[in-house]
C-alpha cells in the first residue's frame, strides 16, 4: 500500500478502534505520544483504522482528552486534579492499565502517582484485592513482618 508523504501532522487524524468495536479519532501528534499506537501506525500505515484490542470505549475517550491537552501544552496541576477527581480507584486502575498497554508514558506516570496517593493510607488487604494478589506468606512470616513493621500499620483508614 503506497504511503502518502505525511505533510503537516497537526491536521492529520488517526482512527482508533477499541476492543468493543467503537471508533475514535485522534490527532497524529497525540498518537505519537502513545508508543504502541505509533508502532502500529508505522507497521500498518496511517490511513487505516488502528485496532486496539485491549482498550475499550469506556477509557479511550478519557485518554484522548488527556493527550489533546498535552499537545497544546495545557496540562496543569489543576487539570490533572480535575481529570481524576470523579474516578473511583477501580476506574483509575482501568485507565492506568490502558495507558500501560498504549505505552503512553506521561499519562502512565501521572496515574502511577495518583494511584500511589490513593493507596497510601489504605489497608494491606485492600491493596491485595487491588492488585489481585494473594497473601502467600506463611503465618510465621506474616506475623514476623507485622512485628517488625508495627509502626507502619498505625492509623489505617477504613476501607471505602
Amino acid at each position: 500500500m503506497a504511503q502518502e508523504a505525511s505533510s503537516s501532522t497537526s491536521s492529520k487524524t488517526i482512527s482508533l478502534k477499541t476492543g468493543d468495536g467503537e471508533i475514535f479519532e485522534i490527532e497524529a501528534s497525540a498518537a505519537k505520544q502513545m508508543k504502541t499506537v505509533q508502532r502500529l501506525i508505522d507497521d500498518l500505515g496511517d490511513d487505516i483504522t488502528i485496532p486496539l484490542h485491549n482498550v475499550f470505549s469506556k477509557e479511550l475517550p478519557k485518554i484522548i482528552e488527556y493527550y489533546k491537552k498535552d499537545i497544546t501544552g495545557e496540562i496543569t496541576k489543576d487539570f490533572e486534579a480535575e481529570f481524576v477527581k470523579d474516578l473511583n480507584d477501580d476506574e483509575v486502575k482501568v485507565l492506568f492499565l490502558a495507558a500501560n498497554y498504549l505505552d503512553a508514558n506521561k499519562l502512565f506516570e501521572f496515574l502511577s502517582q495518583n494511584i500511589a496517593d490513593r493507596l497510601e493510607s489504605k489497608s494491606v488487604e485492600y491493596v491485595r484485592k487491588y492488585f489481585g494478589v494473594e497473601n502467600d506468606f506463611t503465618p510465621e512470616e506474616e506475623s514476623k513482618l507485622r512485628e517488625e513493621r508495627a509502626w507502619s500499620f498505625r492509623g489505617i483508614k477504613e476501607d471505602e
Binding site: N100, Y130, V133, R149, S152
Partner: protein
Amino acid sequence: MEVPHDIAFEIFSWLPAKSICKFNSTCETFSKFSQETTFKTKQTRNLLRKDDTCFFIQPEKTRQKFEKRVELHSLPKEKQSSGVPNNVLTFLSNSVSVLASCNGLVLCRTINDDSLDLFICNPITKSRSSIPIPESLQINDNFANINIMLDCSRSNLDDYSVFLFKETNFKEWSPTYICNVYHGEEGAWKTMANRFSPGGRNMKFDMAVFHNKAIHVISDSAFYFTKSSAFYDPYIMSYNLENGTSTLLKLPTEAIKDCHNMCNMNIFNWGKVTSSNSSICLVKLRDSGFIIWILKDYKSSSWEKLLEVRVEALELKEENPNVTGFTIMNGDLLVFATEENVYSCGLDNEKSMKVEEICQHNCGSNTRFIAYSDTLRSCGTNAETMPC
C-alpha cells in the same frame, strides 16, 4: 483484574517509605521491592518531586544537651502514610541533635561528646555513615555553634554535600568564614578558594537557604551598630557556591523598621524548588504578628509583601499564644509552634488562611524545625547499620 508485578513496582515507587514498609506485608513479591537498589533509587528520585511530609522539632541547641529530645511529626494529611519507626526516633532522641535533612537523609551530631561527631543517616533503612572531621575543623566544645548545612544532589542520588563554615579573622569586627565542603560519595573534604564575608553582623547559619546556586543567610537584627555603619540594618548575605563571591541582599524597608527589639526574622525557600518561579521569602515575627514578603526580583532585591496576620486572628487553641518557632515548609506552608502546640497555616489564599492544629510538643521555647520526607535514599557505600 490482576496487575502485573512490574507495574506494582512503579506505583509503589511513588509511595512514602512508611507506606512501602506497610505494604511489604501484601505478598512475597511486593515485600522484595524495597530491597532492590533500582527500587530505592526510583523512590528517592520520585519523592524529590513531592513535598516534605513531616518535620523534626527540637529544643533550642543549648538546652538540648540536657533535655535530650528529638520529635518527629507528620503534616495533617500524612499521619498515616509518612513517618519514622519509633525505636529509631527514640535512639536519635537520646543521642543526637538533628542538624539538617534533605530527601530522606538526616545530618546528625551526637550530643554525648564534647568533640564534634557527625553522621548522615536514613532512619527508615536504619543505615548511617560517619563524616570524618579533620583536625583543623574539630571543635571541642559541645555548646559551640557549628555552621553547617546539608544539600542532596538531585542528579546523583548517591551523593550529598555537607557545608561547614569555620570562622577566621577573630580579631576583626567583620569575620570571614572558610567554607569546607564534604562530598558524601567521594568521602572527602574540599575547601572553597574564596572565603565567605558576611559583613559585621552575626549570621543565622542554621536558617540557611539554598537558592540560585548560592547559600543565603540572614543576619540577626539586634541593635549593636550606629546608623553610620553599613551593617546597621539587618540584611541577607549570599555565598555563591561556584565562584565563592559574597553578595548583600537588602531586606524590605518595612521589615527593617522596628526590628532591633523583640523581633525574629528568617528566610525560607518560597514556591516549589522544581518550578521556575521559586524564590526566597522573608518571615518577620514581631509583637505577635507575622509579616511575609516574597523576593520578586533577585538582582534588584525587590520584595513584595504577601500578607500580614496577627496571631490572635488565627483563633488558636490557647488563649494568649506565644509563638516560639516557625518555618515555611514546601515553599507554601507556614508551620509554627506555641509553647505547647504546633500549627500549620496555608498561605495560598490570604482571604481564607486555613489554620490546622498538627500536634502537641514538649520542646519548650525557641523550638527548631527541620522538614523531612521519608525516602529510601542511600547513605553511601560505606554505610553501617544503626544500633537500634
